[in-house]
Amino acid sequence: MSSAIDKTAPADTATMTGAEMVIRALKDQGVTHIFGYPGGAVLPIYDALFADHGITHVLVRHEQGAVHAAEGYARSTGKPGVALVTSGPGATNAVTGLTDALMDSIPLVVISGQVPTHLIGTDGFQECDTVGITRPCTKDNWLVRDANSLSRILHEAFQIATTGRPGPVLVDIPKDIQFQKGEYLPPANVRHRSYKPKTEPDRDAIERAVEMMAAAKKPIFYTGGGLINSGPAASRALRELVDLTGFPITSTLMGLGAFPASRPEWLGMLGMHGTWEANHAMHDCDLMICLGARFDDRVTGRVAAFSPGSKKIHLDIDPSQINKVIRADLGIVADATRAISEMVQVWKAKKKQADKPALKEWWAQIDTWRAKKSLAYKPSDTLIKPQYAVDRLYELTKDRDTYITTEVGQHQMWAAQRYKFEEPNRWMTSGGLGTMGYGLPAAVGVQMAHRDALVIDIAGEASVQMTMQEMSTAIQYDLPIKIFILNNEYMGMVRQWQQLLHGGRYSHSYSEALPDFVKMADAFGCVGLRATTPQELDGKIQEMIDVKRPVLFDCRVDKMENCYPMIPSGAAHNEMLLSPDDGGEVSEAGKILV
């Protein structure tokens, strides 16, 4: 299917095989990159890819890597990520990534091959009930039974993945359907029979929100990943709203970058490892304006003690989030860009003023919390403190076109606390599912979309071993990703919890038999670097930045450092621990929480 034939083909419909339709539909949807792994049940689609040069296929080393790479691609571009996997194990390997994307509302289209229709249900080779297995971890999914319905389903899949609350979808295509000829229909704005996400806010709700904001004495904006998903316009509208009101602002892990961390209104991240000022302001505020966040348990702490004296405005595009965990005094179901822009417009049109004297007092209170310097740590001349490593990484990369991904654990929290993001789409992390092994393949996806950018995975030595094989992908495609491993030889967050909750019995949390990451880099064919002292760290980081090849950086950090501040499980926002000296008694109810 050359592009010359494309041009002469009728604009509306064409007859082609199911496999050709897949490629055509991807192109018509503007897809330029897909991440995949071939196998028996997707060979016709791979054959169609072979004949067509319009789409770049990235061969991963494991299907989980394909899906995380697609997530990184999506998160950093705002476009849907696409993955192509085979039946059976190909599909089951994609499940972690699908669940991750569902939890973090990442738009993905995953296409899986399936055994031919006549073999479905016979326990055929590499058969599994892919739509059954992936139903709870997709926004919607389809088993295609006829080539004539394939193009409609594929276009619908893109529509559903990318609109409303974004999420992953999966299209399962039996091999015979990939060979079958059928009619291809181009994308059209068909009104879906049942799927009609509400994006326009109710005007009177916006007006009420503005009234509440103008009357507030101790307000706070609590923002989340919804602002990133809504697109850069949401971040611009948010900045304007903060300019107009002068209110303090905090964000969830998923929302970092929507508001610049350098601005004085920024309180830092909130939640379990959030700042003292963000959590105390959340606890003591009289008006909480939640924009595109979902009151996750990492954020709320003990729900019964959550911000007891405040009125709450909750904006979310997903109606089921309103009142799910915390009762909202005012719920607004809408796209964040639309709703925040309208708030700005109404605030201006009604010439609203914030309660300046009250706000001055509120800021004075916040400044006393800030003075706690809750992110401070005890520096060392001999050991690389992990906090120091993140700080130096930030200082040496902040003026570059930088994207940060992470794995999951202590290093992730240190990165979230200390790396200051100024723009959305620069921060890719697994929030809801907490997937160790996310960051390396996500970096592959990010770098694929931003070839000239500096893409760094802030990693832990345990997480990174879960998807290490994708270094090979990075090398194959000349992706100069930097894997910056804060190596403390422990599953650090597990060890921290064992210290706080299980009497220091470090059951199976020591990273025994670690590989030599520098030699491993050599074996992969990339660059290995190691830093063991604070004195050599800057030079090594600079070397990592300067080399235009993938790097595995083994940063040997203090093995016993814990991540503070911390709200222990089952505690409230104003019951934070600042350091190990604060004790850290965890209630019986807290012990059963994760």
Partner: protein, 168 residues
């Protein structure tokens, strides 16, 4: 949210696109999020528009019920959700087939006739009654049959429809 709130039974109807997997998606929502299903009935009601109607009885606190409605409403193949118990605008009926056998079956038959049940099979040793009513009345009827030789029960689950001339 408040966990001390009272649990109540609610009847809901969910109109869905009649497509493969939709029932599994609805049922999976209940099991995945830990909600109850007390009964469930499903059938295609409009073949031209491929619409199926799922009527289910669930129970929960007001907060849980609100979540169930919202979570059902956001499923892609779901067209609309109505909570008949909250709307108080619905008529509910359920049908049961009730088999009795033994010495007291003539007493059972007399009682069944009084309750408006039809006898759909009579053998020399057993009866099968068909009874349609609101679920609570069926509960009461079945309870009465227990002392009169009840052998087996099959219930359809609830069907519900709005009062007056309008569709849901």
């Amino acid at each position: 949210m408040s966990s001390a709130a009272q649990t109540n039974r609610h009847t809901m109807t969910v109109l869905v696109n009649n497509e493969s997997g939709v029932l599994a998606r609805v049922v999976g929502l209940f099991s995945g999020r830990g909600y109850n299903i007390e009964s469930l009935t499903v059938a295609e009601v409009d073949p031209t528009s491929h619409t199926s109607r799922i009527t289910l009885v669930t129970s929960g606190t007001p907060h849980v019920i609100e979540q169930i409605e919202a979570q059902l409403g956001r499923l892609v193949p779901v067209r609309s959700v109505i909570n008949w118990t909250a709307a108080k605008g619905g008529i509910e009926r359920e049908m049961a087939l009730v088999k009795v056998a033994g010495d007291k079956r003539d007493d059972a038959k007399a009682l069944a006739e009084k309750a408006g049940a039809r006898t759909v099979e009579a053998t020399s040793s057993s009866f099968i009654f068909e009874v349609t009513d609101v679920p609570a009345q069926l509960d009461a009827f079945i309870e009465q049959m227990r002392g009169l030789g009840l052998v087996d029960v099959s219930r359809t689950g609830v069907a519900a429809i709005s009062r007056g001339p309008e569709a849901m």
